[in-house]
């Protein structure tokens, strides 16, 4: 109807209204002096938090974000005049100020400030710090995203506060200071491990999904998967790293690439410390000399399937994904394509741990199934797809599926698959002895038990043996 604002205008109005409402809360900020640029940065963090479902008052995002990101610099700091605050809500603000000082003095702040922290990492850390408090607070927020640029950022904060009463934010601050110990405890819990994970995935052009990053840091299992696969990776790589055994020549190599055989590693890559080398290997940051791809390598396809159903809940999930990650890296090094997919009642989209590790690794680590399982359908669909790959594209396929001990696939389907591809089943921590009628049809069967994954050297060899055998198909 004429005269009615269209939906885009309405959205803009809502966004501006919300921005003013949020900026008004900066009158409670304890960081001095304040700059409009800080407000813009804080709004960007606020938007990221809102995408994760956390609509905190901007003042908290602003003050804590600046502390965590090291954005204060030498000339600025947290106020120290708690008792002299003469504003409404002074007792709460005094306690809030004291909390900010304790945050600023925490050991982990120095670690966080040591290297630039990307916005998405910062948002994830803020979400972890304040998630519990947010759950216990009735957020009166709207649904708008704050605009990244607006003349509103230049407006006087006090004037904004007079127009948009920021008193609602005091409720959150009250909750925050009541849960001060919990917030500080969360800060103490931020480990080098979590930062390492975030660092792996939050790189330039990484485009990791924010929600996946949050789940990554929040779920115990994600770190376990990385740690478990990192435990295996050095052994997978170390036998190839002895410089004396390698001879490099520029002749015969056409390019420098991010994937390749370990014998084609650039010499400079071998100079890294073990930790750095392994992380670079995990996130596909190593550089290799590239040469003409052989026909065999280009036809080879390693198809990895990882069971993501509820049946895998617990230790099975950790070991399955850790093995999958290690196996994917190993197969990548051998050459050929590596496709990894989760399955439950469907085959989920491919993860490219070779070419897009930074983007897809968080998904591998934090993926959670939202349906039941239907192995007949999954493996039936797979048989059709692999048939096409073999017939129409001339691919040489090795299919490895990592699952649990009650994975019932119809026998005819397994027979069809076994005729098309090398078929390897890895069964993780079965709760009872395997009793599956299709086992004899598989070319290779591995059963992973807890003892085979133990940390002593001889037990670790067993885990590596599993991967070696799976990769040799």
């Amino acid at each position: 109807m004429a005269g009615q604002p269209d939906s885009a205008d309405r959205a803009d109005d809502r966004a501006e209204t919300e921005l003013r409402r949020q900026l008004a809360t900066l009158t409670y900020s304890q960081v001095r002096p304040a700059t409009p640029a800080d407000g813009i940065a804080a709004a960007a963090w606020w938007n990221l938090l809102a995408r994760l479902g956390f609509r905190l008052p901007l003042v908290v995002v602003h003050d804590c974000g600046l502390l965590l990101s090291g954005g204060l610099g030498a000339a600025r700091g947290v106020r120290r005049d708690g008792a002299a605050l003469g504003t409404a809500g002074a007792p709460v603000l005094a306690r809030y100020q004291a909390l900010l000082h304790r945050i600023a003095g925490a050991e982990v702040i120095a670690e966080l400030n040591a290297s630039p922290l990307r916005d998405d990492s910062l948002a994830v850390i803020l979400a972890r710090l304040f998630g519990d408090v947010h759950l216990r607070w009735a957020s009166p927020g709207g649904a708008a995203e704050l605009p990244g640029s607006s003349p509103t950022y230049e407006l006087d904060r006090d004037a904004l506060a007079r127009a948009h009463d920021p008193g609602w934010a005091l409720g959150f601050l009250q909750r925050l200071v009541e849960h001060e110990r919990a917030v500080l405890a969360r800060l103490d819990q931020i480990e080098a491990g979590s930062l390492r994970l975030l660092g792996l995935f939050s790189a330039e052009g990484g485009a990791a999904d924010l929600a996946d990053l949050y789940r990554l840091v929040g779920t115990a299992g994600a770190t376990d998967v990385v740690d478990f696969s990192l435990q295996l990776l050095p052994s997978l790589l170390e036998t190839k790293r002895r410089p004396a055994a390698q001879r490099f020549s520029i002749d015969g190599y056409a390019s420098v690439e991010r994937r390749g055989n370990v014998d084609a590693l650039l010499p400079g890559e071998l100079a890294h410390d073990d930790d750095v080398f392994v992380q670079k290997a995990l996130s596909d940051d190593l550089l290799y000399y590239g040469h003409e791809r052989q026909n065999e390598a280009s036809r080879r396809l390693h198809y990895l399937l990882v069971d993501a159903s509820a049946s895998m809940r617990g230790a099975r999930e950790i070991f399955a994904r850790g093995l999958a990650l290690a196996l994917a890296k190993k197969l990548s090094l051998q050459g050929g394509d590596v496709w990894l997919r989760f399955f439950d009642s469907r085959l989920h989209p491919r993860l490219d741990l070779g070419r897009a590790a930074r983007r897809d690794l968080p998904r591998l680590l934090s993926f959670r199934s939202e349906r039941g399982r239907n192995y007949a359908r999954v493996f039936g669909d797979l048989a059709v797809e692999i048939g096409r790959l073999v017939r129409d594209e001339g691919r040489d396929v090795t299919l490895t599926f990592i699952t649990h001990g009650a994975c019932q696939i119809p026998l005819p389907t397994v027979e069809t698959l076994a005729a098309l591809a090398q078929l390897c089943g890895i069964f993780v921590l079965p709760s009872r002895p395997l009793d599956l009628d299709y086992l004899p049809r598989l070319h290779r069967v591995q059963v992973v038990t807890a003892s085979s994954l133990a940390r002593s050297a001889d037990k670790r060899r067993r885990a590596l043996q599993i991967i070696d055998e799976a990769a040799s198909g």
């Binding site: 110990r181 239907n374 007949a376 359908r377 009872r432």
Partner: protein, 607 residues
Amino acid sequence: MPDRVEIHTRERAERALRAGRAREALGLYWQLLGATQTEGRHYDTWLDGAAAAYLALGRTREAGYCLLGLRRYAEAQRYFPAAERPLEWALCAAKLGQHGEAAQILSGCGHPALAAMELEAGGAAATARIEWERVVRDPRLADRPYETALAHFNLAEALLRVDDRVGASRAFAASERMLEAVADEFETRGEQMRAFDCYSVLLRLGKATGVFENVAEGYLNGIRILAAADQRFFVLQYYDDFLAYAVERAEWRAAATIAREAADYSLRVGLLFDRHYLGRAAELWARDARENQAAGGPLELSANAFHAAIDATTSLGDFPLCGRLYAELAELPLPEKRRLRYRALARRYQAMPPEIPAKAPKFPEHLRSAGAYLDVWRQDLVEWELDGDPTAVLARFVVERPANSTTRLALRALLIASSPTFSADSAASAAELAVALGRVPSYEILSPLERLYRHPAAEARAAVMRGVSQIRCQRSFDLVRQGLVDPAAAVATEALRALPELHFIDGLEPLTRIFRESADERVRLAVLESIGRVAKDGSLAAVMVLLDVARQEGGAVRQIASSGLSHLGGDEVVGLVRQARDAEVGERREVLDRILKAVDRPTGTFF
């Protein structure tokens, strides 16, 4: 207690019966039997009189049904010749402990599943296994994948009972494959509760075979479906039970994640049990860490498990316990720098004064429902076998259920269906039966109603709509959906009338789906009326639906959603409406503002 009119009516009936006026007596007893809430002893007297009247009229079958209602099975059996009324005869025999005989008759009249169950009740496991094998081979199972899965499951259990482990394993495997596929199909079609039934069987299958993976699949998918249907107490009961099972099976990591999920869920839906489950999560993560260490498992897994325990403990606010956990973490053979850090944190947290612990109630016994675990692998197979035959379903209902007003209503329907004037082909008869069935508020009654809906006469189908409007199950909406698009206007009209009657919390999801799928404004308005009633019964999910409609729709649809909201109140509703209002501008904001003013009204003060 009967009132004076009822006492007088009974006296008249008895006089009529003594005077040989059985038809008149029957009419008077029929009036009395309508008062189904009457206390047992008196009702039984009327039922006894009705039985006598039926006998006097030579209507022995109906007399037999009355005797079934009176639990006089030996007498009743005399009026059900095995050759003519085998099911009724067998029901009586079963109640008299004659399980073998009952099974033989049931098997001979095309009820092998019921026969198998009778044999099991009589302890004849080997013979029961033969009957289950007959069920599995029954041609009526063609194109019935769900029932086929159930048949294989029951066979598998029977094979276990006779210690045929190889056969049982094969049958369980077949059942498992079918159940997963059928559950997936049900979910794809939006039939969540039928998928839930599949997961219930998978759960039982897992427990019967000791396979944790299947128990996990059953519980977690069941929880997912219950949570989507906002069945909070069932969700927590399932979480609680799965947690106990995981602990029993020493699946520490799985148990810890379940406890943490239960805590998060409890907090999210506003229940009081989050602290209890956080405490359990902390204990179980710590246990996982210790067990992993004792078993020589990967070191980082132990460390991460302790971190997860500390995380849970932080959410709980138990900082001294945090300190103790950091101390254990510091004892692990980790790099020295980390160990030093953990020791420092341990000292700091252990020195913190303990907070006054808030209560951490666990999920109480009185909120547990006995109906949380139904033996659907039996019930649904019986339903398949009886095929919606009204007399068969009702007779079994009367015999198997405790005597109460519901069974009396079922008995009345049964007597209608077995009257000599009743004809399944007659529209009037079918309509009368449909209405009588609708008065029996029970899931089992849906299958006879679904069968009656196949009647060619619109009058009968319209009556089915009237009947189903009284049965508050999600499955009732399947019938109503069919009725809404029935070619006969009278049927569609009754289906439309049925919608506002079917207002219950479980019904919100199918109601919302009908709203979204229908372009007919009358249907949408009727659905909103029902959702308004669900909201009034306390469902915040229903409030959210109405809010969504008030924001997105226009005209009469928006009007009725707004009206439904305006009749609500309470802090939570006010909060939701305010939040929605704050997110809007322009006309939508004005609409929500009006609603907010209506819901945020001062109520009468009690104090």
